[in-house]
Symmetry: C2
Subunit: 470 residues, 2 copies
């Protein structure tokens, strides 16, 4: 092993001594302010240096490279400070169980504090990664959700958070990669809109110079306009806003939508198959490229691996109703699924088909929005679908009505003010291909793929009716 | 050539005859409603079938496959309708100059209208792709910008628009590809925020249940929090909102930000170089993969190819001042660049260095935001930079102050209410690496790369103080 092998860490970046002229920050860190608090340093001290998902043990010992004062200085560095370290990597005889790098340690020759953390941390990282069961059974500290979210900068440093958001970045990457390979074009749609296109409920109002505007509840109108503008297959990733006063484990007021819209030739199932295959490619990609991250999250939140079929299971709504009724649930033919019934259905489907992912097709027309294409073979059904992961909805979609006359009739039937949706209807007047699409909730996909239990764990800075900070 | 070679088009998709049971839309299109308006059909008619950037001539002639009535029907199909066509592809003797497919035409055997356009179009596509100079010199019709934007679904069908937005999709793709290869992680940041972090000017207010919230003017705070949370290198693509009453060719109230933030070891130039290289990779990728699109746009809007150097030219602000002064401009050392002076500087730099892209570094501290790191060697300068394309700013960035005490001092110096930026300052209290970053305007990059003159041409559905629709 080379004798001056420098190793770089983030909560420990080694650095060479800086040129004195360059060191503009020299009065804002360093020895004098750091060595005031501790009395009796020993002859050596151990540090754990962390960088993202990985950490290594470091040793500062009195000897050729370190003085007593230096050991004292190192022993007094506040937890979570950023340091630069230079040293020699040495093999150890006994595995270091508490670090990810178990076979080596770093013998420190130089150490500089780049940014000192305050001595009292609002939460301890060790507590923040402790499995809940250990907390309950062994009475050890865990960190509650509000404390985590109030101090998100620290909570995001845990190996679990690092893994969750690396995997989430992977979902976006796989979504785009798959769709780009399928010939889709990425579009950008406006979030400030002039009218609440779906009727006005659950929409945030924005002061727009001397008028009011609204935040888009979905990019749907704009995706559809792109289809009418001859782009054929489009996708977008962006924020979606819902002014819904829902304080559940799966609702956010702002979330990230992965949206797809596509013209088809003969049947909307062409689109359903493309969307389902896109999700399957995401699942496969995650299981292939993100095993480390999945296992890291599983350590804190144990869960069964996510199962799916190829091709994806497609059930019709009436089949789902039959399964639920067989399980003792009483439901009308045109009644929507409640959240508990969705979850029960997920369990029944898992038992029968051994899959955590399926499509529920042909929803009752009565429970879907006005722009949903009716099923030509059954006037009470519609060409619409949801997709589910572990019994929870992650996508809602439909064939949209592309005929201005029929969409007008359906809007009137729903009691919608035609004046408010004029621009929407007009976009079908100059040639509009049959098309369908859907919107996926990114945070829900991340949560359910990893078997987590709250969507706030998979939103970096979640927004709900009670939380707007940080 | 096979005798029943079907060819698919969008403003002409061929389709087989649909199963009668499947054809739920049969009362909403077809012969009877379409053949009422024209009197004397000839023995044949020509159509131009278009799909995205490409088109082909089609012939319907009385003979084995077409009757007089069918020719009459075809001749009466409204422009911009969606049709399905089945026919035979035949070589032509004389090139068809008006179509992109010049060597062949389609002999139609079956034709169905899938979605009929209204007979009167708000604008003609031929007029919408005509170069302005032809309009002026030959007195032929062109389409003004408001008509285009009011009827964006049709305007987006032009070959120019199709090319612009395919290239824009490519910019996002290249941005992410380059940064992912460099080890960056993609993040998603909230757009609804609780406090106007940069002091409160030019911010949109949102009604948030019983309180007020704001739309994020940039993802900067959240990018910085991710750096403090140990993600090291992050990027995001998302909407940015500016409540600025600016009605210029380059301002929008909502635009798409390509944002980068990165921890560095010794000098913020490590970050400047990564950003500049990312832009260079985008320029190279566009010139390599999007030549068809560039040439399509150039037909309507002629322009010199975009030039850049490797490595990117970096000028210091004082050098730029010297060049401007030499050209007769009077400016103080700590004065910001006006838009005309930026453009003049762009021309001077192009003359001297033969590049359309450069970095302007070390802006006067006085003209930059409070969080900008001062230059340790010159208290009137700062570690901040803008980047320019064809003389217009496309990126603004800086090393950010990562020390809570110094950022507090600078905020006080700027007269900012510390209470409002408490969360911002607190995020540096638990270990914060030195970091820098910047935000790129997607629409500006598209506009300036293609040499266009208005950012509304490169926003699908632009938002400005006077436009919120469609």
């Amino acid at each position: 092993m080379p004798s001056a092998n420098a190793s770089r860490r983030s909560q420990e970046k080694p650095r060479e001594i800086m040129d004195a002229a360059e060191d503009y920050a020299k009065e804002r860190y360093g020895v004098s302010s750091m060595i005031q608090s501790q009395e009796k340093p020993g002859k050596q001290c151990f540090l754990v240096l962390r960088q993202q998902q990985f950490n290594v043990q470091a040793l500062v010992a009195v000897g050729d490279h370190a003085s007593k004062q230096m050991v004292k200085f190192a022993a007094n560095i506040n937890k979570e400070s950023i340091v630069d370290v230079e040293g020699v990597v040495r093999k150890v005889n006994q595995k270091i169980g508490s670090c990810t790098q178990q076979d080596v340690e770093l013998h420190v020759q130089k150490i500089y504090v780049i940014s000192s953390a305050e001595p009292r941390l609002p939460l301890q990282l060790d507590d923040a990664v402790r499995p809940e069961v250990e907390g309950e059974e062994e009475g050890r500290a865990t960190v509650n959700q509000d404390t985590r979210l109030d101090n998100r900068v620290i909570d995001l440093r845990t190996s679990t958070s690092q893994a969750i958001f690396r995997l989430q970045s992977g979902i976006c990457h796989l979504f785009r990669e798959t769709l780009t390979n399928k010939g889709f074009v990425e579009i950008q749609t406006p979030k400030i809109i002039s009218a609440a296109s779906e009727g006005g409920a659950n929409v945030f109002t924005v002061s727009y110079f001397k008028n009011n505007a609204y935040l888009a509840q979905s990019p749907q109108l704009y995706k559809q306009m792109c289809i009418c503008a001859d782009f054929e297959k489009v996708f977008c990733i962006g924020p979606v806003f819902r002014a819904e006063d829902s304080n559940t484990h799966r609702h956010l007021t702002e979330f990230v939508g992965l949206d797809i819209e596509m013209a088809f030739n003969y049947h909307y199932h062409e689109v359903v198959e493309e969307i389902a295959d896109t999700l399957v490619q995401i699942f496969k990609g995650l299981q292939k490229r993100f095993q480390t991250e999945i296992q890291t999250v599983n350590k804190q939140f144990p869960c069964e691996p996510f199962k799916f079929l190829e091709p994806t299971l497609r059930l019709e709504y009436c089949e789902a109703l039959a399964m639920l009724r067989e399980a003792g649930i009483e439901m009308g033919d045109e009644e929507d699924l409640s959240t508990p019934n969705e979850k029960l259905l997920g369990r029944l489907v898992k038992e029968k088909y051994d899959t955590d992912f399926y499509i529920l097709d042909k929803y009752p027309l009565a429970v879907r929005p006005f722009y949903t294409m009716p099923d030509p073979r059954n006037p009470k059904q519609s060409n619409s679908y949801d997709m589910f992961m572990r019994g929870e909805e992650i996508l809602s979609g439909a064939q949209r009505i592309h005929d201005p006359q029929l969409v007008t009739e359906r809007a009137l039937h729903h009691g919608i003010d035609l004046e408010k949706i004029k621009a929407y209807i007009d976009s079908f007047r100059f040639g509009a291909p049959p098309h369908a699409g859907g919107g996926i909730g990114l945070e829900r996909v991340t949560m359910l793929f990893l078997g987590l239990h709250n969507v706030r764990q998979t939103s970096m800075f979640p927004r709900d009716p009670k939380r707007l900070t940080p």
